[in-house]
């Protein structure tokens, strides 16, 4: 049963939502509407619709963001104060949209009202499903031992497992029944999407955000009156084409647009992969590289060590090597300094008698512990991780340290 509800049902809901949604979009375009009943009843609608839509949009966005970006979300929610602030905001928004959906249900309830008469059975099912979703959401937040961090660690892994087609409901099957109904009902709402007026969510009028608040349009096409400019006329007097018919001009304009579009598509097809290839950086895993036996490094001395990059390219030759300054501080303590000066990356030299690192480029000097002694370097020498492994000193390959602002 659990498998059905948490594995099969979500897929069924999603497939139906997409499949029937697409069918309805192409076959019954005009039914993609929220079927406004504003003319029938206005007062409740204002309170209900505004509260519901603002509340549910923000809450869905939060659900979506956390689900899509689990790692950053973990960082954000990891702080107690932030967690509390976010959860209080969430409960506030939840109550706000619960209030909204109740108002939306209530306005259709009165017997013999116009609002009641335009409400179909599917509308009632949808309203109840949405109402229950809002109710259970707020209920879980307030009465179950559950919070934003729980969502991140139970529902999100499950949703991801569904998304990558390796369904694994283990993180949600053990939850209390009330919480599970929120999940199931959520997918029910997704399933209801193509069968109800909920389809209007995909016709979100985002354009309203940036279009001018009023749009003035010409009743006739102003461009038709434009005469060819005299300079052109004199440049090619004999072979100038006869004045274009309006329909021909229209055709010419649409052909121009199509030309630009097709050219743009071709450019994108070639350009995007090339650019992606250029921008793609080789991600080499960091590796531990042996530097030599512990006893080959005298205590208190700093020596140059060299080792291979994390994953040297076959044609890299000598450039596949990397160097570092390794100092044995004690019997089992080692410090490895990057040879790159923190100023502009030139290789610093260790002067054993003076106990200083000096950079030949702009004269930066570092003390033996890597701190800046003089000159332009803005920060101490970067150290690389070192470890002892069965009597062998090992260094972790690291990126060239780049001093950032």
């Amino acid at each position: 049963m659990q498998t059905f509800f948490f594995v099969a049902f979500p897929y069924i809901a999603l497939i139906l939502a997409v499949g029937v949604g697409l069918y309805r979009y192409f076959a019954r375009r005009f039914t993609y509407s929220s079927l406004s009943s504003e003319l029938v009843e206005k007062k409740y609608l204002f309170w209900g619709s505004v509260s519901w839509h603002y509340g549910i949009t923000l809450i869905l966005l939060a659900h979506l963001l956390v689900a899509l970006l689990p790692a950053p979300s973990r960082l954000v929610l990891g702080n107690h104060t932030r967690l509390v602030v976010l959860e209080l905001t969430g409960i506030g928004l939840g109550l706000y949209c619960l209030f909204g959906i109740v108002a939306l249900i209530a306005r259709r309830l009165p017997n013999k009202s116009a609002a009641r008469s335009v409400t179909s059975p599917m509308d009632w099912i949808l309203l109840l499903a949405l109402g229950y979703q809002a109710f259970s959401g707020v209920g879980i937040a307030m009465f179950e031992r559950w919070g934003a961090a729980w969502y991140l660690n139970t529902a999100v892994p499950w949703l991801w497992s569904l998304a990558i087609l390796h369904p694994n409901a283990a993180t949600v099957t053990g939850l209390p029944f009330f919480i599970q109904t929120h999940f199931i009902n959520g997918f029910l709402v997704i399933l209801l999407f193509p069968f109800t007026r909920l389809v209007h969510v995909v016709s979100l009028p985002l354009e309203y955000l940036w279009r001018p608040y009023q749009v003035v349009i010409w009743n006739r096409d102003p461009r038709r009156k434009q005469l060819p400019c005299p300079c052109q006329a004199s440049a090619v007097p004999a072979s100038a084409p006869p004045p274009l018919e309006p329909t021909d001009e229209k055709r010419r304009r649409s052909l121009t647009r199509i030309g630009i579009l097709v050219g743009g598509i071709s450019a994108a097809i070639v350009g995007i992969p090339s650019l992606a290839f250029l921008l793609g950086l080789r991600k080499a895993p960091r590796e531990w590289r042996p530097l030599g036996a512990v006893d080959s490094f005298p205590v208190g001395q700093t020596v140059e060590v060299s080792f291979a990059d994390a994953s040297p390219l076959p044609w890299a030759g000598v450039t596949a090597k990397t160097a570092a300054w390794l100092r044995r501080d004690g019997p089992a303590q080692f410090t490895a300094f990057s040879i790159n000066c923190t100023h502009l990356g030139c290789p610093v030299r260790w002067l054993p008698t003076a106990n200083l690192f000096m950079c030949p480029c702009h004269g930066g000097v570092f003390y033996k512990d890597g701190t800046v002694a003089s000159g332009p370097p803005p920060k101490p020498l970067v150290t690389y991780p070192v470890r002892l492994n069965k009597g062998i000193v090992e260094i972790l390959t690291s990126p060239v340290p780049i001093t950032t602002v």
């Binding site: 950086l281 450039t319 030139c346 290789p347 480029c361 003089s374 780049i402 950032t404």
Partner: protein, 479 residues
């Protein structure tokens, strides 16, 4: 001869070369009179660029774009006489291109030739100037020896100072976490395909605009440019006293361009290409990366500016330079062209030349660089071979003092010359400085034993330019 003539007529008939190119060659240009020889720098830059294209193609046929083998392929090119000459031409061609594009820019700026209607001529030219500098930078890097290798790292570090995306940008330039196998290919592709493609594009527009707007007439004080009347006036000028570009103006371009090419060739043969340094092995830490001469002044600039301004200079310097180039024709598109009526333009050019020349000279001296190769002071300088003064001279060398301080002509020039330290400073003053260090001097607190310190002070106190030996006053301070 007749056959050739017939061939040409046939070719011209089926291609229309003389009909299309003929009017371009003979288009009228204003008489330049006294300033006529100042109009040759643009075409000479083009000549140098063509030299670069030809020799670049030749070099690319032997150059191996591989971080591991580029150095060996360059060694191979260098080992052949003709290879050396071609490399030399490419190197001096680059130098010539930089100098000539600089002269061309200065000429156009001082003469106000960027004013209406030639603003776009200037802007495309500004783009070409930037691309030329980029070519110089990437080209130096392709000489994939030790300095070429570290140039890539220095480039990445400078890009790292861009806010927010600095780290990504730096590693993007290196094409990975470290400078390695992927790095060189990136710069090769930029130097050989990407930037040249941009240069060709901008150059075509630039040349087209030169023809479209006509070559600017020499400026005259008191004859401002008014966009409403300029074109009509310019055309009447051409009608009354214009001369055909070919051959009356073009011969000077040809003549000067030939001199440029001959000079490049002579230098390439006589001076030869820059020698390859050590192999690009990151583990050879005894490296002293230096830019080629055209960026020497920038290298010096980054050493000599105050530390806190550095990020601003690295970031905003190029930005302001670009902004200046863009704003010049936009804000100053009309009005007086003559430098006599634009004193600020003279001042700006003079300051830029003085500043660059100064930093350039400083860059060659590189006073901030420790002289890590200076030998220990010889006995003739120290004066004695044993005793505290001789011991002190040894400490002076071992502790790295000599890398930055000159004594009797030996050592670095970062810090004050200590040849006459004994005349100027008491041992207590010396000891204070040695212990406390300074902005550009490390502190030696805890680095010197009491014995080392006293012998070092003895040595420094014995440094006199006046030939009056003073008895060394030995006193350990501050106890």
């Amino acid at each position: 001869m007749r056959i050739l003539k017939q061939l040409w007529h046939w070719l011209d008939d089926i291609t229309g070369i003389s009909k299309s190119l003929g009017p371009i060659l003979t288009h009228p240009v204003p008489r330049a009179r006294k300033t006529r020889w100042l109009y040759v720098f643009g075409s000479a830059t083009l000549a140098a660029f063509l030299v670069q294209v030809v020799t670049g193609i030749a070099l690319s046929s032997a150059y191996v774009t591989s971080s591991g083998q580029a150095y060996h392929s360059l060694q191979f090119i260098n080992s052949t006489t003709i290879g050396r000459i071609v490399r030399g031409i490419h190197y001096f061609g680059a130098s010539a291109m930089i100098i000539l594009i600089g002269l061309h820019t200065i000429r156009v700026y001082l003469m106000g030739s960027y004013k209406y209607p030639r603003q776009m001529n200037w802007l495309t030219g500004a783009g070409l100037l930037m691309f030329t500098l980029l070519m110089a930078f990437t080209g130096q890097l392709l000489r994939w020896d030790q300095i070429g290798f570290w140039t890539a790292v220095v480039a990445a570090e400078q890009a790292g100072r861009v806010p927010l995306i600095g780290n990504w940008l730096g590693h993007f330039i290196l094409a990975g976490n470290t400078a390695g196998g992927a790095t060189l290919s990136r710069f090769f592709s930029a130097h050989v395909f990407f930037i040249p493609a941009l240069i060709f594009t901008f150059l075509s527009v630039h040349l087209y605009l030169v023809l479209f707007n006509g070559i600017s007439e020499p400026p005259k004080a008191g004859r401002p440019v008014d966009p409403r009347t300029y074109r009509r006036w310019y055309h009447s000028l051409l009608e009354s006293e214009g001369i055909p570009f070919w051959p009356y103006a073009a011969w000077r371009d040809l003549f000067f361009g030939t001199i440029v090419v001959l000079a490049i060739f002579t230098l390439a043969v006589v001076a030869g290409p820059p020698e390859l340094g050590k192999p690009p092995d990151p583990t050879i830490v005894s490296a002293s990366p230096r830019p080629d001469w055209y960026f020497m002044w920038y290298f010096a600039l980054l050493s000599l500016i105050p530390k806190w301004t550095e990020n601003w200079v690295i970031l905003l310097g190029p930005l302001f330079f670009g902004l200046f180039l863009i704003l010049v024709p936009i804000l100053g598109g009309r009005g007086e062209r003559s430098p006599l009526r634009r004193p600020w333009s003279i001042l700006i050019i003079a300051s830029v030349i003085v500043i660059i020349a100064h930093y350039w000279a400083e860059g060659i001296r590189a006073p901030w660089s420790p002289r890590l190769e200076s030998p220990p002071l010889p006995a003739s300088v120290v004066g004695v071979t044993s005793g505290p003064v001789a011991d002190g001279a040894r400490v002076f060398y071992e502790k790295g003092c000599e890398y930055c301080h000159t004594v009797s002509g030996y050592g670095g020039i970062r810090g004050p010359n200590l040849s006459d330290a004994g005349d100027r400073l008491t041992p207590a003053q010396m000891a204070t400085r040695i212990f406390s260090g300074a902005e550009n001097m490390p502190s030696y607190r805890g680095e010197l034993t009491e014995e080392q310190l006293s012998s070092l002070l003895a040595f420094l106190s014995s440094r006199h330019l006046l030939q009056v030996p003073k008895p060394p006053v030995l006193k350990t301070p501050g106890k």
